[in-house]
């Protein structure tokens, strides 16, 4: 959508369908990690609510200020905060591998996007004839790659959102994943436009082949980590991919200020979500005894 390939309405429809499919077919891996993988304890209702509200609040706040932030990082922060507040056992090795993946994923995606863009450029230059029809065909491929991104998004993020609730064991996991996928669609329809604009045009201007490469690389990265049950950041993967294609054009095409803003969001969101969850839970339990 950022490079003007598809209307916002159609983008929302595609995101809804594929995010839902991703959630239902492959969302269970991340859901398990968030539910029982990090905090090795049964959470109570209050803990689940606080973990979700504090992470949701900071994601909404960052989105309002057009900063592409990470739901995964916020939710992991929220769950860890609650785990600390409950004095529950936290699987540190799991947590470290998740945090490591937040660094590895965007770098891996960036390298992949750079390599793919470089190869695609060579192929396209060899073709020479760059007609409207060829641009149209590339555009269609870019839309297909966007569907794959939405699928990977559902597979990774639906589990994020409903993982803490799955910990309670009161709903069927598939129902929870369906609700997770549905709410991703709702989020895309309401706040998605602002972030799509920032990622599509604010970091580096994208043409059609670049949009295709950025999406296919980021989707691959997210999909890979989803299958490993590791919640990664969609925005970090997409930003990594956009930077990767931007580097092929030359580093000058990338807005350093925008990248720094995004990095700040990545650090602040999980930290703030963890701190908020910890403080809220402790305060409420002290007041209510």
């Amino acid at each position: 959508m950022g490079c003007g390939l598809i209307s916002f309405r159609n983008a929302v429809i595609l995101v809804s369908i594929f995010a839902l499919l991703g959630a239902l077919l492959q969302g269970q891996h991340v859901m398990y990690t968030i539910g029982k993988g990090i905090v090795k304890a049964d959470l109570n209702y209050l803990a689940v609510i606080i973990a979700l509200v504090s992470s949701g609040f900071f994601v909404t706040l960052a989105t309002f200020y057009k900063i592409p932030t990470s739901t995964s990082q916020a939710i992991v922060g929220g769950v860890v905060g609650i785990g600390l507040a409950l004095n529950a056992e936290i699987d540190h090795s799991k947590l470290i591998s998740i945090v490591e993946s937040w660094i590895i994923c965007p770098i891996m995606v960036m390298v992949l996007a750079f390599a793919l863009m470089y190869i695609l450029n060579i192929i396209l230059r060899k073709f020479e004839s760059r007609t409207f029809l060829m641009q149209h065909a590339m555009g269609r491929l870019a839309i297909l790659s966007a569907c794959y991104t939405a699928y990977a998004l559902g597979a990774n993020h639906a589990g994020n959102a409903v993982g803490p609730i799955a910990n309670l064991g009161i709903f069927h996991p598939k129902l929870l994943l369906f609700i997770g996928g549905l709410t991703i669609a709702l989020g895309a329809a309401t706040y998605g436009k602002k972030v799509a604009h920032t990622v599509g045009t604010g970091i580096t201007p994208l043409d059609i082949p670049a949009a295709f490469v950025a999406q296919i690389s980021s989707a691959f990265g997210m999909h890979l980590f989803s299958m490993l049950g590791i919640p990664v950041s969609t925005s970090s993967a997409i930003v990594g991919a956009v930077v990767g294609v931007g580097l092929v054009k030359g580093a000058k095409a990338i807005s350093t200020k925008m990248i720094l803003t995004i990095l700040m969001g990545w650090i602040l969101t999980p930290t703030m979500a963890a701190a908020a969850a910890y403080i809220c839970y402790r305060t409420i339990t002290v007041i209510w005894g």
Partner: protein, 215 residues
Amino acid sequence: MLFKKEKEVIELILKHLDVTENTIKSSLKTIEFYLDENIAEAKIWARKTRGTESEADLIRYDIRDKLYLGAYLPLLREDIYKLVESVDKVGNAAEACSDFFLNQRPLIPDEMRPHFLEVSKESLGVIDSLKLAILCYFRGDCKIETVRDHTREVGIQESRVDKLEWDLTKEIFISEIDFAHKTHLKHCLDNIVEVSDRAEDAGDQLELATLKSMV
């Protein structure tokens, strides 16, 4: 068939180009017969010019409708239609030119006739390079550099028309004819050179499209 709607649009664009070329060639025939003082024949060619120009308009509407109904991605539609529109304007200018001759009947002094004929051939002849450039681009069977060579040729030919226009304008205004006659001839000349000006705009539009598709 893959990309059926899009391929139909390309066929229509090429058809529109052919019909526009016919309009321009007919207009040139009109001028040639007029300068040869064969008004009866000039009228026949002027009618042909109007007929083909109307046909080109209908094809343009058809292209617009197909784009409106979803052929090509929204991102590309504007560029495609602008290009078609710019080619159509070349045909419109050629029609206006032949209409000017038959409607206003400018009195061309004998010594200026060869010069009017030369500038007409040069200005309306610009369609040949423009057509080659557009065919090359839409068929996709030649290198992008070849497309750009043809569009450059359009620009070079337009510059030659400018030079001829300058010389003929000077010739008109230093002649002994009265001022009203001079301005009428100048107006006639403006109509002739308008064709190559519009063709240059169409060439620029195509150049923009090629630039956008460069990696």
